[in-house]
């Protein structure tokens, strides 16, 4: 039995296309960081059938367990990318519109990576609206981005389709598996809004304010749709039939709204807009979180912080002097998480524009170096994203009954030189693949 399990795990780790089976696995004598409570310098954790069975200083290790010696290992809840594209097919490059006018030192980088959706334009009269599309339905387990995510220590991604105004529903899924339906944790965690400012071509809405007013109209239409349907459902006789509208169905089905906000002015604007729409709100971007923390705290709005910290363009003209404001944002953006933590704002990190998942830990370390406590940093990678998306009854901490997603490091998670030992996803152990040269031919 034990042997069988071992070979299965090995097979899975090697990435062979055989369905891994989670049996009983225990880590003994490791430094455990549950995220939900104080760390245990020397504890055991037992996983059974893909779930955490027990955790504690002296919890017994069942005889049937495959045991990993935890000496020298730090065990964390599996890391969660709070706004991801891992596992979703990349869209072909599309012509970009002229940049939005106005000072924007901190446009969320996720906008620069449009990904494919089922229906580019949205249904009739609902342009740029794919509200009903779910990331879970686009998830492709074969994609290399998933393996790269595991190699970086991540176990879960919360991903959103497309770069439409209504981009569709985000889904939470684990980043390992052979069938997407088994990977998905929750198929609809929120509706992501982006602001694809297109200028004069390409139809309404083409500007930021056009997009905002369009969203306003859609939510009003959704409310109208719902009340008309209710009235009709009560007794259809004598009433005109409300038309079927999947774009509005998608909006109605979304449990929360994600709005982009980088600058302070945008944070302020989006908080007020979310309040106007009376939607549970999550902001993403957050380059100027260090300026907007008080607003977020007062409104009790969580922030997803892009780990691609604002920086100078690589091929910058040496004679173009960035403004003091841009420079200050660049300098202080990594302090944002510490400021958010201090203000009591719930926040989570996301991979946004970081090109190599391996750089993510370095990016997190920047926030730690800028004053964020390691406890809070860990939570922002685990428990907080789970809480923000309503997944904390399943994910985000090392607690009995939760999904057995673990990130195990030889050393400290926030020491970017410390080696990732393995991840455990749904109870299955994945060794990081050795760095390989990129594929040259196919």
């Amino acid at each position: 039995m034990q042997k069988l399990l071992v070979s299965t795990v090995l097979l899975a780790a090697a990435g062979l296309a055989q369905s891994p089976v989670a049996g009983v696995l225990a880590i003994r004598g490791a430094h455990l960081h549950p995220a939900s409570g104080p760390s245990l310098p020397n504890g055991n954790i037992v996983l059974r059938n893909g779930l955490i069975e027990s955790i504690g200083p002296n919890v017994p290790i069942p005889p049937e367990a495959f045991v990993v010696d935890g000496a020298g290992l730090q065990v964390y809840p599996g890391l969660i990318d709070a706004l991801s594209t891992w596992g979703l097919p990349a869209a072909p490059a599309r012509p970009t519109a002229a940049p939005a006018p106005g000072p924007s030192p901190a446009t969320p980088a996720v906008l620069e990576r449009p990904i494919q959706t089922l229906d580019e334009g949205g249904p009739e009269e609902r342009p740029s609206n794919n509200s009903w599309v779910r990331a879970a339905d686009l998830l492709d387990p074969r994609l290399a981005t998933l393996a790269a995510a595991r190699n970086a220590g991540y176990t879960t991604a919360i991903s959103f389709p497309g770069a439409n105004v209504f981009s569709g529903q985000g889904s939470a899924y684990n980043v390992a598996g052979t069938r997407s339906r088994q990977m998905v944790i929750e198929e609809g965690v929120g509706q992501m809004i982006t602001f694809p400012v297109r200028g004069f071509g390409g139809g309404f809405p083409g500007s930021l304010m056009g997009i905002i007013s369009y969203i306003r109209q859609i939510f009003s239409d959704a409310a109208h749709y719902r009340s008309s349907q209710a009235l009709y459902a009560k007794d259809p006789r004598g009433l005109p039939r409300p038309p079927y509208d999947r774009a509005l169905d998608g909006v109605i089905a979304s449990p929360r709204l994600l709005l982009p906000a980088g600058r302070l002015a945008e944070i302020d604007r989006m908080i007020r807009f979310g309040q106007e729409l009376q939607q549970p709100l999550v902001l993403y971007g957050g380059a100027e979180s260090f300026r907007g923390a008080a607003l977020l705290a007062a409104a009790k709005v969580p922030m997803l912080v892009n780990l691609r910290w604002p920086e100078a363009e690589r091929d910058a003209d040496p004679f173009v002097k960035d403004s003091l404001r841009v420079l200050e944002t660049r300098d202080l953006a990594p302090t944002g998480p510490a400021v958010l933590a201090k203000a009591g704002v719930k926040f989570a990190f996301y991979s946004g524009g970081v090109e190599r998942p391996a750089d993510l830990r370095k990016a997190v370390k920047k926030a730690v170096d800028a004053g964020l406590s390691k406890e809070d940093a860990l939570k922002a990678l685990t428990l907080y994203p789970a809480q923000i998306f309503g997944l904390d009854n399943r994910l985000g901490s090392l607690e009995p009954g939760k999904i057995a997603n673990l990130t195990v490091i030889e050393g400290d998670l926030f020491d970017d030189r410390a080696k990732l030992k393995f991840t455990i996803i749904d109870g299955v152990k994945y060794e990081p693949a050795p760095e390989t040269a990129p594929e040259t031919n196919r």
Binding site: A98, P99, P101, G102, P103, G199, D315, A316, D317, P318, F319, V320, K321, S323, L324, R325
Partner: protein, 420 residues
Amino acid sequence: MQRMLLAAALVTAALTYAEDFALRGVTVHPISAPEIPNAVLVVTGDRIAAFGPKQTIPKGHRIIEAKGLHVYPGMIDSASVLGLSEIGSVRETQDIEELGDFNPQLRTMIAFNPGSEHIPVSRASGITASLVVPSGGFIGGQAAMMHLDGWTWEEMTVAPSAAMQMRLPSQETTVTGRAFGAGRRTFAEVRRRYEEQMQQVRLFFEQARAYQARKANPALGFKPDLRLEAMMPVLAGKTPLMIVAPKERAIRDAMAFAEREKVRIVLAGVREVDPFLEELARKKIPVVLPDLYQVPLEEDASIDDPLDVPAKLAKAGVAFAFGSYNIERPRNLPFQAANAVGHGLPHETAMRALTLGAAEIWGVADRIGSLEAGKLADLILTDGDPLEPRTQIRQMWILGKPVSLENRHTRLYEQYKKRL
């Protein structure tokens, strides 16, 4: 109102023929010398004959009582497109930019439309002459100093080729403009293109020098080359290159270029002057100010940018003149000068830059720019400081001839006043 009628009557009486005249009781502002209150200024033919507090009026000169009024030399716009453009958005009315990168042979003088409505409109503010500047490519053509009155361009030309307009290749990565078309190029791309273009520019100058040598000892069958021929006064240091260079890098490039090619330059449109003040003064490189109605260059620029540029140049001892770069704004040139005065430029330096200073830069100070005996009688008569809008320009003479201050705007004003 009454004053205006008076002025109008003077004009209509004088328009039909030129006559010798004298201004009596006037305060004379020669620019080249201190002002003289309550003086007499005598104009004979197209020249200033004499002036002074006790100047006698020769026979046959009509006397114009000008007590309480002021006479100044007419003001000079050192960079406009007057006569080359009528309506900004209508391509067919533009004769500013020719195709091609090197066009030294082009002459603005001959495309100067004497019938342009912009000419009398500009005059109404006291502008009597303008350097008319082409653009396009790297060498846009010859800028001419033109009088703002006359029947033909020939009559109106003060100097046919006061400067050779030039713009060095740009290294700007950012195309600015908040509304439309803003975009970026990568710096690597810009550098590559810049190097290629600089190579072309150097090559052109090499060709011109080779031509100069060939021309000095013409072989049999030597055929003049109109383009290169036009460069000869530039290479000889007779005609300055007027290089448009607003920002630090462009200014640096332009000065390095002048050094290497050993040519005389005038920098135009300079904005980022701080690093160059000492050098500009030492090398005696004159400057045409930027359009002072422009916005500050960058987000962090001071609220005084570029209004404080003239004061900085003046303090450093750099010679400069005002330019409108425009058809709409020559009439605002005195107001821009006033803005500069508000930002620390001495009033007399401003007046000089609008008159004699400009004439000196463009090599026409022997004829225009100040009130001196023997100079052309380009005069304005005002009821006060010509830089303040509160002041009315009452009369104008160009080449000793009274010039109407009527224009499209006053005509429409008078016409529609009747409809009220």
